[in-house]
């Protein structure tokens, strides 16, 4: 893995968070044999996938589908690390009290019907807060869909697997303020085999908040990149805590944020959503930059950037080699790169004349290097091997429209081989044939991110440059 990490761990906060992601035993409070119910989906997911002990709790059953069911968590003899609560809101204070009595280390309260619905709900939420106050017990939620961990199969997302795919293990973690958005992202990621190995939604954050989750993920060595879907912070003073935490975390690993609720109208929609009051977007944007967060403009872009940051080394400058078999695609890449403040320097005459010897007469060798529609795999190899190891460029965007006859799947090997030069590379490949899909898959399996359009590839390189600057590997000063 190319991304460097400091060994410095964050000392404050993050207490008792790990058990939310890595419990050895989980109790499902509100387990039920009735398909379609939240408690049923969570129970089924855990029983079939979780690599640990699953305990069912519901006073109405002695057993569910052949598995013993306890009347109360207090009746369980074995140790229980984590309780997942899926019972109606009015019952939640009681089961929370039982769980605390039993000695669980943490609860994930899935149930809704708390502060997000008004005064009565707020009263219930206060009651739960009172019960866990002065204990070591941590609470995620209420009104959340909880945790997904591809590593150990911990999955409290109450959406059946035939409706919501689960992504494979991988280096990307997601913190989402919205449960529905988190579910949609995981479904989408599973189709694209994008490795979002950990995901968490925190709901009303009665106890555990986004800052603590961020700290925890910073210290989790499986996570290389953290993504955050945020609508708005909720409580006075939370902003500074988030800012201070993010400042430290972004020196350890890249954090990408997408903030919804940017305009006045959508800010209104968010306010009535998770009872959150979305702040003024310009202030958030300033805070993000100050904290070294990389801001994405959409959910899709967030993962475009995450993919590159999770796999590529960091560039030491802003100069990009644009290698293409299509002039038009090359120009699009240059447009986006220039807009984003990256450079596409003309190659020195010495390199140009050497390239001319090996490439056909119509090829353009200034940069973009256009190997044209008559390109073969070898042309790509020649360009990569003669330019990447020089000090003229810091990274490459490789545009390979595989529709042209001279290119074969073997091109993958040449591109992978060029990883040894230690410079970031992204590939742009666009098309629908099976060969192309295989081409893209082989590249991504080897840690080279592929994008469907030049501007998406260019933005991914921009994110790498941004993170280099955040890590102060590139100097910032007055021109």
């Amino acid at each position: 893995m190319a991304i460097e990490q400091t060994s410095e761990a964050i000392s404050v906060g993050g207490r008792g968070i790990e058990v939310l992601f890595y419990p050895s035993s989980v109790a499902v409070i509100g387990a039920t044999p009735k398909p379609g119910h939240v408690g049923y989906v969570i129970m089924s997911n855990l029983l079939s996938k979780f690599k640990g002990k699953v305990i069912l709790v519901n006073p109405r059953y002695d057993s569910i589908n052949g598995v013993k069911c306890y009347k109360s968590i207090t009746e369980v003899n074995d140790e229980v690390d984590l309780a997942v609560v899926a019972v109606p809101a009015p019952v939640v204070p009681q089961v929370t009290a039982d769980a605390v009595k039993k000695g669980v280390k943490a609860l994930i309260i899935i149930s809704g019907g708390f502060s997000e619905v008004g005064d009565e709900g707020r009263r219930l939420e206060d009651e739960v807060r009172e019960i866990v106050k002065n204990t070591q017990v941590r609470v995620l939620g209420p009104n959340c869909i909880g945790v997904y961990n591809a590593d150990n199969g911990l999955d409290t997302f109450f959406l059946p697997e035939d409706r919501m795919g689960r992504p494979p293990k991988g280096p990307i973690a997601l913190i989402s303020q919205s449960g529905a958005v988190a579910a949609a992202i995981l479904d989408w990621a599973s189709r694209r085999r994008l490795g979002i190995g950990l995901a968490v939604n925190y709901g009303n954050k009665l106890d555990v908040n986004e800052s603590e989750l961020l700290e925890y993920l910073a210290n989790n060595s499986n996570v290389k990149v953290i993504t955050i879907y945020m609508e708005g912070l909720k409580y006075p003073g939370e902003g500074l805590r988030f800012l201070e935490t993010a400042k430290k975390v972004t020196q350890m690993k890249p954090v990408i944020v997408y903030k919804a609720g940017r305009t006045k109208a959508s800010a209104g929609a968010v306010a009535s959503h998770t009872a959150a009051l979305a702040g003024d977007y310009e202030i958030y944007r300033g805070a993000f930059r100050q904290a070294g967060l990389i801001e994405a403009n959409s959910v899709r872009e967030m993962f475009d950037l995450a993919k590159a940051l999770a796999t590529q080394p960091l560039p030491r400058g802003r100069r990009v080699l644009v290698l293409t078999d299509s002039g038009g695609m090359g120009i699009q890449a240059v447009d986006t790169l220039s807009t984003l403040g990256l450079e596409v320097p003309e190659l020195p005459e010495t390199i140009q004349s050497m390239l001319r010897k090996f490439l056909p007469p119509l090829a353009i060798v200034r940069n973009p290097v256009d190997v044209t529609g008559s390109a073969t795999d070898e042309y790509y190899k020649i360009v990569l091997d003669s330019i990447l190891p020089t000090s003229y460029v810091d990274m490459a965007i490789i545009i390979a429209l595989m529709q042209i006859p001279g290119l074969t799947p073997n091109l993958v090997n040449y591109i992978i081989d060029a990883k040894r030069y230690g410079k970031p590379m992204v590939v742009v490949s666009f098309g629908g044939s099976t060969m192309m899909e295989k081409f893209n898959e082989s590249l991504e399996d080897s840690g080279i991110p592929v994008y469907a359009t030049p501007d998406r590839g260019a933005r991914a390189l921009w994110a790498l440059v941004q993170y280099s600057m955040i890590k102060k590997m590139l100097r910032e000063g007055v021109e």
């Binding site: 708005g232 912070l233 909720k234 409580y235 006075p236 003073g237 939370e238 902003g239 500074l240 800012l243 009051l277 702040g279 003024d280 310009e282 202030i283 944007r285 300033g286 805070a287 930059r289 100050q290 910032e476 000063g477 007055v478 021109e479």
Partner: protein, 233 residues
């Protein structure tokens, strides 16, 4: 450490600092302002104008007037002793007619800084983030172009530089179309000091330094006008 000026203004039931109080506060934090004197009559005003150097601006000093220009309480670009005398008379006359009940404490005579780039530095309090510092191009253009950037206080020199570079105004500072280069580091310095001023004085609910005039490289920047809205905490 809350500054005495603010404590005094609040104890007198005022919610805005007077001009000279604002300048005093800025000076206490090392933020450069053009030379000024507070005087009570035109003879003193002439003496003051010669001390701070022409051209000068003369403004009425009154706790009861929010918008001095609207009541004819400001005269700009004064270049000689005769005009100072005339301006003082004019202001007295205007106030008598347009704000007859306003208490007048005197005149503020201030040297006018010439020919720079006008920018704004502002501060406000946000429920979630606390103290927010704003930077942008000055004057009415700020609101038209929305060419602003924000950071959360306290801010570092790096933060200040990055918020300046985030705006289009930065292009004007580094010599857009043969415009002179501006003193960017003096602006960094003012932003950092202003952030400290806002953090240490929670009674300030909002503040604008508008305009801050940036001179050419090496000549510094000056907070020419300042507005501090205060309230008891």
């Amino acid at each position: 450490m809350v500054h005495d000026i603010i404590i005094r203004a609040l104890s007198e039931g005022r919610f805005k600092l007077l001009d000279h109080e604002a300048y005093e506060l800025l000076e206490a934090y090392g933020i450069p302002t053009p030379g000024y004197r507070v005087v009570s009559n035109y003879e003193e005003a002439i003496k003051a104008a010669n001390e701070v150097g022409y051209p000068v601006a003369i403004k009425v000093v009154s706790p009861d007037i929010m918008h001095k220009t609207d009541v004819g309480g400001v005269v700009l670009n004064i270049n000689n002793d005769d005009d100072v005398k005339r301006a003082c008379g004019e202001i007295n006359n205007n106030i008598k007619h347009l704000a007859p009940y306003a208490r007048v404490f005197g005149f503020l005579v201030q040297h006018m800084v010439q020919g720079g780039l006008e920018v704004i530095i502002g501060g406000l309090r946000d429920r979630i983030f606390g103290t927010v510092i704003l930077f942008g191009i000055g004057g009415i253009l700020t609101e038209l172009y929305k060419d602003t950037s924000m950071r959360i206080a306290p801010i570092t020199e790096d933060d200040a530089l990055s918020m300046i570079k985030e705006t289009k105004a930065y292009q004007l500072m580094i010599g857009y179309r043969s415009m002179p280069r501006r003193d960017i580091y003096s602006l960094v310095d003012i932003i950092v000091k202003f952030s400290r001023l806002m953090t240490e004085n929670p009674q300030i609910s909002e503040a604008d330094l508008n305009p801050v005039i940036m001179l050419e490289s090496g000549k510094g920047s000056y907070a020419v006008d300042a507005r501090f809205i205060i309230k008891p905490t």
